[in-house]
């Protein structure tokens, strides 16, 4: 026998379920649209040359963005060198030892840093690196990206370490394992999956930044020889080519966007496979 209350609860359940499905679709639509649009407009400009050749001068057709692909990887790599050690150690500090006033201040400042517009970070990098060096460089670009990565890595590292049950810390300490080894060799590996997710989010964010690179890495139509020279990046090329009047450049901009998306995807999958849990 179905009472009125049961009917009411069941219909409420159905409505909520439908809302969940609708929200999921709403969230997926932009993703699919972006992906479809990028593929349909960029695929035509994708060929072997795109991955192996330098950009051609204005007026000549063909060429590729090989230097920009390498440049983006270089800049993100430099960003990781700065952002990951600082971010991860700060996250460890906040999760394991940050239960005091100092921890609260650091946590708040990290959130503030997370909210700083990326172009401001670019200007800061310009002031502290480019001006003293008197020229744009990959170092300056990597520095700006590293700063952007720090708060993302810090907060995810902290959150993920907090999800590790206290019982593991107690078990390790009770075995006579020193605190620092407990944290580094037992708690950190337990939270590794989530921390990797945070790192990949930060990498994706850094790889997709344009604004902070305009002041720092600038751009380069040729191969960079050293890291203290201006360096090309996919995002700045997408920006430059995308607003150009040339149709083949615009197509190459779309292709660049497509390559950037797949680059990050591949990187995420590779890192996931390399760090997958043994059990």
């Amino acid at each position: 026998m179905t009472t009125a209350l049961q009917t009411y609860r069941k219909s409420k359940n159905t409505i909520m379920y439908a809302l969940c499905i609708l929200s999921t679709i709403a969230a997926l639509v932009p993703l699919v649209l972006i992906f479809y649009h990028t593929v349909s407009l960029g695929a035509s400009a994708l060929n072997w040359d795109f991955f192996t050749k330098l950009p051609k001068p204005v007026g000549e057709t063909g060429g590729g963005l090989a230097n920009a692909i390498v440049g983006t990887l270089t800049l993100v790599g430099l960003g990781c060198v700065i952002g990951l050690p600082v971010g991860i150690t700060t996250g460890i500090f906040l999760a394991e030892f940050g239960g005091n006033m100092y921890g609260t201040v650091v946590r708040f400042l990290t959130d503030v840093l997370n909210g700083v517009p990326s172009i401001v970070t670019g200007v800061v990098a310009y002031t502290v690196i480019v001006l003293p060096m008197h020229h744009f460089s990959a170092y300056a670009g990597g520095f700006a990206l590293g700063i952007l990565m720090i708060p993302v890595v810090t907060r995810t590292t902290e959150e993920m370490l907090r999800t590790v049950p206290q019982s593991y810390r107690e078990a390790a300490l009770a075995l006579g394992i020193p605190q620092w080894k407990t944290t580094l060799r037992i708690i950190l590996p337990t939270a590794l999956g989530g921390i990797i997710t945070g790192i990949m989010l930060a990498v994706a964010r850094a790889a997709g930044e344009t604004a902070p690179l305009l002041f720092t890495a600038l751009n380069n139509r040729f191969w960079h020889n050293t890291l203290d020279q201006p360096i090309a990046s996919l995002t700045v090329f997408i920006y430059n080519y995308g607003v150009s009047p040339f149709e083949d450049w615009i197509a190459q901009a779309w292709a660049g966007a497509l390559v950037l998306i797949f680059l990050i995807l591949l990187l995420s999958v590779a890192v996931r496979v390399a760090t997958r849990p043994r059990y």
Binding site: E170, G176, T190
Partner: protein, 271 residues
Amino acid sequence: MMTIVDTNSPGTAAASRSITPRAIKIAADSLSCYFGSVHALKNVSLSVAEKSVLAIIGPSGCGKSTFLRSINRMHELAVDSRITGTLRLDGEDIYRMDAVALRKRVGMVFQKANPFPTMSIFDNVIVGLKMNGLRNKKDLSEIVEWSLRRAALWDEVKDSLSKSGVSLSGGQQQRLCIARTLAVNPEVILMDEPASALDPLSTAKIEELIHELKQQYTIIIVTHNMQQAARVSDQTAFFYMGELIELDDTTRIFTTPARKQTENYITGRFG
């Protein structure tokens, strides 16, 4: 302060009081423990003879876990904890020792089995030694086998040492945790309700194990199960509201307790 003597044969307990007692392994003198403004342990004095089993019983929140954790200084994980009085291991002041060195001598088994999820069974057993620098593969294998045999788990896992520690059943996980504790070769083993999350069969195995282990180790076990306390221990301490109410031979506590509160608790009239 009460002196604890060998009471393996209950019939001679009274007689053995007069003969030379075993060496005292752990001695608490006016031990109090505070967490912030909470006075969790009040002026507890007791001693435990080596190679004996002390059971601590009492209602929830009576301070028995706090007492246990003060012995290997795990209470210090709470930042606002504070201790007064003294606690000695072989006559040496525990609070003047290095906490890491102390915990190698005083192992602990927790209520909920907590093998490390990122490690194999083998690595779980050996983690305490490995993290403290032991590298020799042959030594490690020998210690793993020895520890698992002592924890009565070897026959069940010897062919799957590289499997995840959390793939085992609850009872096996708890014996794995005991093996992990034994691998460090402690002198004292603290057990915080080690069987309360286990089925009767696994519980019986753990209790059997305690009988085996007391040949070599001093064991202090906190339990909510009074039959368990009666089965495994030589001495039983009854804690209530942070105070040690009574400590005596287990048979005496469960047959003729000296204090009314103890009798009420063990007969189920409160708590």
